[in-house]
Symmetry: C2
Subunit: 202 residues, 2 copies
């Protein structure tokens, strides 16, 4: 073994010792309120990545899509056609809000989605609920942020995970969340004329 | 219709007109080099969310996990047991590098992963390749960044998408990428003693 390898191995031993000690203090399991926000990609797709993990571990899931209902996304097709027993999939919205151009209809759709969301979160059979793009509905005040936060804080069963996605997450939601990730755009090919592509954006 | 609704609808009409015009300029389809980096969650899981979308759209995929091989992740179980025909799944690493404490073994594993990665990228049957946690192998110089970047730029088939994940992405890779997303931690429950949980972290 040469010197680089020896130094590396020693350093890794120290890291492992520190990490093991730190991990010993991490013993609590509980259902989390998670928020994926920011202007970058990956907010919804990482929610669906967690759905994949939950299905693998036998944790029944539920998805409520608030905005993207209007077109056929890969995630909807995949979960409805292939994993309907393991993951319920609801759609409340009819496309992005600039597609409908009808605020009253958007509000009704968002309220309907929130009604479904509450049922799913309260359902003792469900362990993980993805509220996809709910932040858009909250941002336009289609839903009342105080009502949503109060429900998550007081009615969510302790072991149920809820993940809320969409840009411009409200400060009240960030305050109430256990885990907040901001996805930021550092470089995007749309700027060079590349269109939204199957498998990547939907 | 009240005034708020009317103003909203007018505003949405303007947004849609601007958006439609912008989208008309987005006509190009091509395979992207995508990077998910940063200290936040969602780098791997959004890669797996894209795998879900690709499977739904009939795009054959391949995953090479560089670091996480040492334990049973949900994504590995799910894809190997349920979608083996649609997504190949390779593991090169044996856990995080502080677990092995053996640099030579880590280097050999990373090199083996990169050999598989190149085969998968070159395979004309594969449309999407996820190189999960390759940034860790690059960061520790288990792999040569110049070699990886040169391969992606000169040998990747034009329509093949490649997504590279892991914190501390090297500047050379960011420079070469089409799409870079930084996942940042704004709040994390590990700090309060919550441990890594099934379905969420793995």
């Amino acid at each position: 073994m040469d010197d680089t390898a020896r130094r590396h191995n020693e350093k890794m031993k120290r890291i492992k010792a520190a990490r093991d000690k730190m991990m010993e203090t991490k013993t609590e399991e509980r259902g989390l309120i998670m928020v994926h926000t920011g202007d970058g990609k990956g907010k919804s797709s990482s929610g669906f990545g967690m759905i994949m993990r939950c299905i693998a571990h036998g944790i029944p899931c539920s998805v409520v899509q608030f905005i993207k209902g209007g077109w056929d996304t890969g995630e909807k097709k995949f979960l409805r056609e292939r994993h309907a027993k393991e993951c319920r999939f609801f759609v409340s919205g009819e496309g992005f809000t600039w597609e409908t151009q009808d605020r009253d209809r958007d509000v009704a759709a968002a309220q309907n989605g929130w009604r479904i969301a509450q049922e799913q979160i309260l359902d003792p059979e469900i362990g993980f609920v993805l509220l996809d793009e709910i932040n858009i509905a909250l941002r336009y005040d289609y839903l009342d942020i105080d009502e949503v936060v109060a429900f998550l804080q007081t009615r969510k069963p302790p072991m149920t995970h809820v993940c809320l996605t969409g840009r411009s997450a409200k400060p009240e939601l960030i305050e109430a969340a256990d885990l907040v990730t901001e996805m930021s755009l550092r470089k995007h090919p749309f700027k060079d004329g590349v269109k939204a592509q199957k498998g990547i954006e939907f």
